[in-house]
C-alpha cells in the first residue's frame, strides 16, 4: 500500500511537471520509477504471456536491470507454453516475443514442433489476427533458434491473402466476414506483411511491395492533428469491443510502419514532420497510468528512436523561467525521444518576441554555445533587449553533417515561451495632502516602500491625497505591473481599494475626498493605508502598510447609505451554534391515587343500588325454564353473554381489535343461535299462557 502511494505521488509530481503545452521532455528517470511501479507482477508472475512480454520489453527499452526472479518465472511460463501441444498460435507468438528478451533456451525438438505448428497455422489462417500471430511467431523463432531452417510455404500466396483484407482508404479489415475496418488493423497487417517479406523476400514480387507503399501513404492521409503539432491516428467508435483508442491505434500503425521500412529498401515518401508529430503525440502523454498504455508509449518511442524513415529530435529545457538577478543563462538540450545522444549540431536562437506582440524580433539570430560537460546548448548572456516579462523564443537546429539530415529530422522552427523575472526598482515614492482648489501642498512626506513606514497625515473633505512613485526594470525601462492598488481601511473595518494609474515610469493616484465622501459612507476617523504592487515577473512584489490618515468628513445626511456590516470574525459563522434544549410537553397532572380509588368505589355504588332496588321490587327467577333442554339453552345463553363480556375485558387488557372481532364472530354466532332458541321458547310459553 505504501509503495503504491509513493508511486502515485511520483506520477502526480511528474504529471504536474508535464503541464507545459509546447514543451516535450524526453524519457527520464521519472519514467523508469513509474515503470517499476506499474509493472509489478502478481505473486511473482504476470497474468499472461502478453503482459510478461510488455513488462520485459518496457524494462529493456528503459534500461532497467532485469530481475532474475522475473526472468525465471518468465522462462517457466514460456517453456510451459512452448511444450504444451494445446497452445494456440497467439500463445506461441507471445511466448516467443517474451523469449526474445528473456533469452531462455528452447531445445531443438521443441523449436521443430513450434515451427511445424506455426506453419500449419499459416496455411489454416483465415483472419488477419491468425496471420499476424503465425507469421510473427515464425519470424521470432527464426531469430532465436540458430539451427532450424524456417521456411514459409507459398509466401506470395500468404502475402496476397493478407493484402486482400485491405481497403481503398488505407485501412484494413480483420476478416472477410467482418466489414469493419480500422487503422489498428492496418498496423497489424503492415507488421505481418513485413514479417512475410523478411522470411521470404526473394519470392515476393517487388510490385506488390510498391503497392503497399501506396496503401501506407493513403493510411497516413487519415492522420489527425492537435494544435501543438502532435499527430495521431484514431478509429471511429463503431463498436465498443473493437475500439482501441488513439494511443493503441497510433502505436500499432507506427510499429507496422517501422517494421515495413526496415525490410524494404524503398523510400517511403512521408512528409518529414510526420515522425516528429508522432513523437510529440507520444511524449505529450507524459507518464501514463496504465501498464498497457505505458508499454504502447515506450514501445512506440523505441520504434521512433531507431527507424529507417526519420528519427525525430526534440528540444528540452531545464527551466523556462530566467532570473535577471541571478544572471541565469538560457539552456537547451537536444536529444532523441528516449534521451539518447545525437550527432553534432548547433542550436540557433533566431528570434525573440514579446508575448502578444507581432513586432519584429527583439534579438538578432545567434548561435548557442555547446557545453560538452552538461551536454546542453547555452546562451550565456541574455541580450539587453530582453527585459523583465514573458517572451516567445524561436529556435532552429542545424545538423553539422549533411548526411545526417537524411536520417534525423528536426522541425523547421520551434517556438518556446520563456519568462524573464527581475527586481523592479521602486523609487521617488512620496505621499502628500493637497488643498483642493489651489493645489498647494499642505503636508508632504517621503516614503520608503522597501522598509517600514508609519506616516501620519490628516485631511478634511475639501483636500486631496496624492501618492506617487516610479517603477523601473533592471534595464532601465518602464514597467507596468499587474497589480498596483492603494487600500484605505477605516477603524470599523470598512475597506476601499483604488487602482494606481501610470504614465510611463511615473505612477500616481490622487484621491479627491470631496467626490469620495459618499463612497466612504461619511465615516470620519482613522484610515489605515496599504499599497500593493505585484506582478508575476517581479521578484520583489510588495504589500506595505504606509501609515494612517485622519479623515474629517461631514455628517451623514438622513438618506445616506449605511456602510455594509463587517463580519466581526469572518470565520465565526463556522463556529458552534447555540445549543437547543428540547422542551418536552409537561405531562398532565394526574390526580392522587387515593382519590381515584375512592371514586372507583363510588362508581360501584349505583350498581349496588340497582341490585337492591331489584330485590325490593321482588324480582324472581320463576320464569326460568325447568325442562332440561330449554334450561341448558337458557344457561348457555347467559354463559354466552358472560363470555362476550369477558372477551371485552380481554380486549381492553391484551387483545387487539382484529383478534377480538374474530373471537366475537364465533361467540356471536353461537349466542345468536342459543338466544334465538331460548327466547323463542319463552315467547311460545308466554303466548300459550296468554291464549290459555
Amino acid at each position: 500500500m505504501a509503495r503504491r502511494l509513493a508511486g502515485f505521488l511520483v506520477l502526480l509530481l511528474v504529471v504536474s511537471i508535464c503541464e507545459a503545452a509546447f514543451l516535450f521532455q524526453p524519457i527520464s528517470d521519472s519514467h523508469r520509477s513509474a515503470a517499476l511501479e506499474l509493472f509489478t507482477p502478481d505473486h511473482g508472475s504476470f497474468k499472461s504471456l502478453e503482459e510478461t512480454y510488455e513488462a520485459l520489453r518496457t524494462f529493456q527499452i528503459l534500461g532497467i536491470e532485469k530481475k532474475p526472479d522475473l526472468t525465471a518465472t518468465a522462462c517457466r511460463s514460456i517453456s510451459e507454453t512452448v511444450g504444451s501441444s494445446s497452445s494456440t498460435a497467439k500463445d506461441l507468438f507471445y511466448a516467443l516475443k517474451a523469449n526474445s528478451i528473456a533469452e531462455c533456451k528452447i531445445d531443438k525438438k521443441a523449436s521443430k514442433g513450434i515451427i511445424s505448428r506455426l506453419n500449419a497455422a499459416v496455411s489454416g489462417a483465415s483472419s488477419l489476427l491468425d496471420f499476424y500471430y503465425s507469421v510473427g511467431g515464425l519470424v521470432l523463432i527464426k531469430d532465436q533458434s540458430s539451427e532450424a531452417d524456417v521456411h514459409l510455404a507459398d509466401a506470395e500466396g500468404v502475402f496476397r491473402s493478407v493484402k486482400a483484407f485491405s481497403q481503398s482508404d488505407g485501412r484494413w479489415r480483420y476478416s472477410s466476414s467482418n466489414p469493419e475496418s480500422s487503422a489498428f488493423a492496418a498496423g497489424i497487417a503492415l507488421e505481418t506483411l513485413a514479417g512475410i517479406v523478411s522470411l521470404a523476400s526473394s519470392e515476393i514480387d517487388q510490385s506488390l511491395i510498391s503497392t503497399l507503399k501506396n496503401d501506407i501513404i493513403k493510411l497516413f492521409d487519415s492522420i489527425e492533428k492537435y494544435d501543438d503539432g502532435a499527430l495521431y491516428f484514431d478509429d471511429k467508435l463503431v463498436d465498443g469491443h473493437e475500439y482501441q483508442g488513439p494511443l493503441s491505434t497510433t502505436s500499432s500503425v507506427l510499429r507496422g510502419l517501422t517494421a515495413f521500412a526496415a525490410v524494404t529498401a524503398e523510400n517511403l515518401n512521408l512528409p518529414g514532420d510526420t515522425m516528429l508529430g508522432l513523437a510529440k503525440f507520444f511524449l505529450g502523454i507524459c507518464v501514463p497510468g496504465d501498464a498497457k498504455d505505458f508499454f504502447n508509449q515506450i514501445d512506440s518511442l523505441a520504434c521512433l528512436e531507431s527507424n529507417r524513415v526519420s528519427i525525430p529530435l526534440i528540444l528540452s529545457f531545464p527551466s523556462t523561467v530566467l532570473s535577471l538577478t541571478r544572471k541565469d543563462s538560457l539552456k537547451v538540450g537536444v536529444s532523441t525521444v528516449l534521451g539518447s545522444e545525437v550527432p553534432s549540431l548547433t542550436v540557433k536562437l533566431v528570434g525573440a518576441f514579446s508575448s502578444g506582440s507581432k513586432d519584429a524580433s527583439l534579438v538578432e539570430s545567434q548561435e548557442l554555445n555547446f557545453d560538452k560537460a552538461s551536454g546542453l546548448h547555452i546562451l550565456n548572456d541574455l541580450p539587453k533587449s530582453i527585459d523583465v516579462g514573458s517572451y516567445t523564443f524561436v529556435f532552429e537546429v542545424v545538423l553539422h553533417e549533411p548526411e545526417h539530415e537524411e536520417v534525423y529530422f528536426m522541425g523547421s522552427q520551434t517556438k518556446v515561451p520563456i519568462s524573464v523575472t527581475g527586481l523592479i526598482k521602486v523609487e521617488n515614492s512620496e505621499i502628500a495632502v493637497l488643498d483642493s482648489d489651489l493645489g498647494s501642498i499642505e503636508s508632504q512626506k517621503k516614503l520608503d516602500l522597501a522598509g517600514k513606514n508609519a506616516i501620519s497625515l490628516s485631511a478634511n473633505h475639501l483636500q486631496k491625497l496624492r501618492l506617487s512613485f516610479q517603477l523601473t526594470t533592471p534595464h532601465g525601462r518602464s514597467f507596468k505591473p499587474h497589480q498596483a492598488f492603494l487600500k484605505l481601511r477605516h477603524e470599523s473595518k470598512v475597506e476601499h481599494i483604488f487602482v494606481v494609474g501610470n504614465s510611463g515610469k511615473q505612477f500616481e493616484i490622487v484621491l479627491n475626498f470631496l467626490g469620495l465622501v459618499e463612497k466612504f459612507f461619511y465615516l470620519s476617523g482613522k484610515y489605515d493605508m496599504e499599497l500593493t504592487i505585484g506582478d508575476a515577473a517581479m521578484e520583489n512584489s510588495l504589500l506595505v502598510a504606509i501609515g494612517h490618515i485622519e479623515l474629517d468628513l461631514p455628517e451623514a445626511p438622513e438618506k445616506a447609505p449605511r456602510p455594509p456590516p463587517q463580519p466581526v470574525d469572518p470565520y465565526s459563522r463556522y463556529g458552534p451554534k447555540a445549543e437547543i434544549t428540547h422542551i418536552f410537553r409537561a405531562p398532565e397532572k394526574r390526580p392522587p391515587q387515593e382519590l381515584s380509588l375512592a371514586f372507583l368505589g363510588l362508581t360501584i355504588l349505583p350498581l349496588l343500588g340497582f341490585l337492591i332496588g331489584l330485590l325490593r321490587l321482588g324480582v324472581n327467577l320463576k320464569n326460568f325454564p325447568t325442562k332440561p333442554v330449554p334450561a341448558t339453552f337458557a344457561v348457555l345463553f347467559h354463559v354466552g353473554i358472560g363470555a362476550v363480556l369477558l372477551l371485552y375485558v380481554f380486549f381492553w387488557v391484551k387483545l387487539d381489535l382484529f383478534q377480538t372481532l374474530k373471537l366475537l364472530g364465533f361467540l356471536g354466532v353461537f349466542l345468536v343461535f342459543v338466544g334465538h332458541r331460548i327466547l323463542s321458547h319463552l315467547a311460545a310459553a308466554s303466548a300459550k299462557l296468554k291464549s290459555a
Binding site: 362508581t603 349505583p606 340497582f610 327466547l679
Partner: protein, 114 residues
Amino acid sequence: MGRTSSTKEDAGALFHSLRSAYAATPVNLKIIDLYVGFAIFTALIQVVYMAMVGSFPFNSFLSGVLSCVGTAVLAGKSNFLSPLFAKDLPPERAFADFVLCNLVLHLVIMNFLG
C-alpha cells in the same frame, strides 16, 4: 296567601297521584326504569370525578360516560317500545334487540377506552 297555599296543595296532590300511578305500573317496566336510573347515576359520578381532576384522558372519560348514557338509551328504547307496540313486537324480541345493541355498544366503548 290562599293562592300559594292552593298551589302548594295542588303540587302535593299532583305528586301523590304520580306516586300512586307509578306503583300501578308493571314490574317489568319498573325494572327497566331502575336500570336507567342506575346507568344515569353512574354517568353523573363520572362527570363529577372529571370535574374534580381534569379531563386528561378525555377519550376514557367520554367512553365511560357514553357507555352509561348509551345503555340507558337502549333500555329506554325497549321500555318505550313494549307497552305501545306490544302487539307487534314481543318482549323477547325487544330483549334480544337490547342485548345485541348493548354488546355492540360495549365493543365500541372498549375500543375507545384506550
